[in-house]
Symmetry: C2
Subunit: 331 residues, 2 copies
Amino acid sequence: MSLLPASPPLAGESGAGDLPAEFRLIGAHFRPLAGPGALDLTDDAAVFTPPPGRDIVIAADAMVAGVHFLPNDPPDLIARKLLRTNLSDLAAMGAAPLGYLMTTSFPRGTPDRWIAAFARGLAADQAEFGLTLLGGDTTSTPGPLSLSLTILGTIAPGTALRRNGARPGDGLWVSGTIGDGALGLLAARGEIDDAWLADRYRLPQPRLALGQALVGIASACMDVSDGLVQDAGHLARESGCAIEIEAARVPLSPAARAQNRLDLCLTGGDDYELLFSVPIEKENSLIAASRAKCIPVSRIGSFLPGAPHVTVRAPDGAALAFPRGGWSHIP
Amino acid sequence: MSLLPASPPLAGESGAGDLPAEFRLIGAHFRPLAGPGALDLTDDAAVFTPPPGRDIVIAADAMVAGVHFLPNDPPDLIARKLLRTNLSDLAAMGAAPLGYLMTTSFPRGTPDRWIAAFARGLAADQAEFGLTLLGGDTTSTPGPLSLSLTILGTIAPGTALRRNGARPGDGLWVSGTIGDGALGLLAARGEIDDAWLADRYRLPQPRLALGQALVGIASACMDVSDGLVQDAGHLARESGCAIEIEAARVPLSPAARAQNRLDLCLTGGDDYELLFSVPIEKENSLIAASRAKCIPVSRIGSFLPGAPHVTVRAPDGAALAFPRGGWSHIP
């Protein structure tokens, strides 16, 4: 592995001389991102001593141009979204960030200034979230830009938030607002006119501080990446409970409310808010944690006895049906 | 993160219903690969307790169809090569395998039987090398199959083999034979007729046992992935030494010798042998380790005082020049 230029092995006779000029410069852009343990990105691997008394939390996410972001999105925001979607996985476990590895497959002809801006985005979020680059690999691709990031975090042993801990009677809670990601994609595509929503799509806010505060409070937790209803289905399945969501309680931003697309808000993806269960007796602790971290939380439903399924109820009590509700089952 | 199906966020309204049938089955193929800490691949991240008294070694490599392997290579061998190139990075550091995360971007329409065979390849090498899947992500791509793997290993603190430890007077050594990878690519493409060489290209042998035995013996080490001459240049640069390689001492397999392509053997990639420096007083220990692990090693040159560069000498003492010798500088 090396984030420094490596020649494409299919060239048969390899050598840096085979590489387009921009790949020679990648080392210059990425090396300043390297932290302790990365060995200046000059060795085959990184080496670090795990923080004593902590478990390691680790996750990986891939992003492909045209699938997970728009090819003409600003490069610094693509980089930050890549890092933030992974940080959101740490938040969902209640973990603190430690470092990351990244592999990048750039189309030939990617301009150096594009890669420089991409690296600046990573640098900005490294500073904001307190982590550094440990290693990775840079290759070329005949296809679209493909990115993969592995995030490492730490947590006190035995305290990680799981998806399987909710029990009947627990409340279902969510942080922030729901639906801005899916509406933001429409805005980023120019289908609706709202720059704030487009920003919400391009730059999610991983709820790391809240996730860490939920340790000892939430009985189950995950992040909302594939849509509220579908992701609630994962909590229901893993915890072995039914879930009822009251549609009117799902928190919408003013911008989302103005679009009047409740169906999209409830089923669209890319929110990167936390979805979690809290026993009744822990609700006061939750409210205090929410205030301390300045991250709003809303109770949107309940866990009930019964086979795993998700019901979304309108204010009149009717069950709402969604054309593509994913895994959820609407009776 | 989830190795289970996740819908493409650009669908706006996400849901498993959007996914081609094959993606629904990926969970079925990958979940049996999961080990302790992976939480059955149902949570946002994996959690594990680092082995006490060990440092963590971590590296990531990406592979793209048409760049790092041939699109019609057998899927089980693509999977095993992905895992083995990463294991080779652990070998180069002297580390023992612990686990891995993987992100896969499959073209739409990838047959289920292809993914099943890919997973069988991983299972075979997990058993052979003693590690398990910790997590990852599965997405679709409009481009070629793109794979990324992050490997984790462990090592006693302070003992990792680096590239910067060689000193003038040390010998330059290599394991196994050199050039089979580059010639094997020609064979895999049908340009030469040699099934053994094609296998060497498709299924590298990570030198994990030798790498671990080199701790305390080698003063610097790396794996040969980008070609012997170019990779020797990395050792020269990081260690601040000159290197002289005697071309006649570079070990070639009988199959490679028969092809009579010394230039390609010395500069081609994909060998995944270890290239390392050994002080004279440690040579007996090296020979003993080589015999104990049944992995042949050959002294192919020396580290010398002087500015970092690599000279390859023919038997008559003349410096050989290579049209594309990469970083190396031939005086």
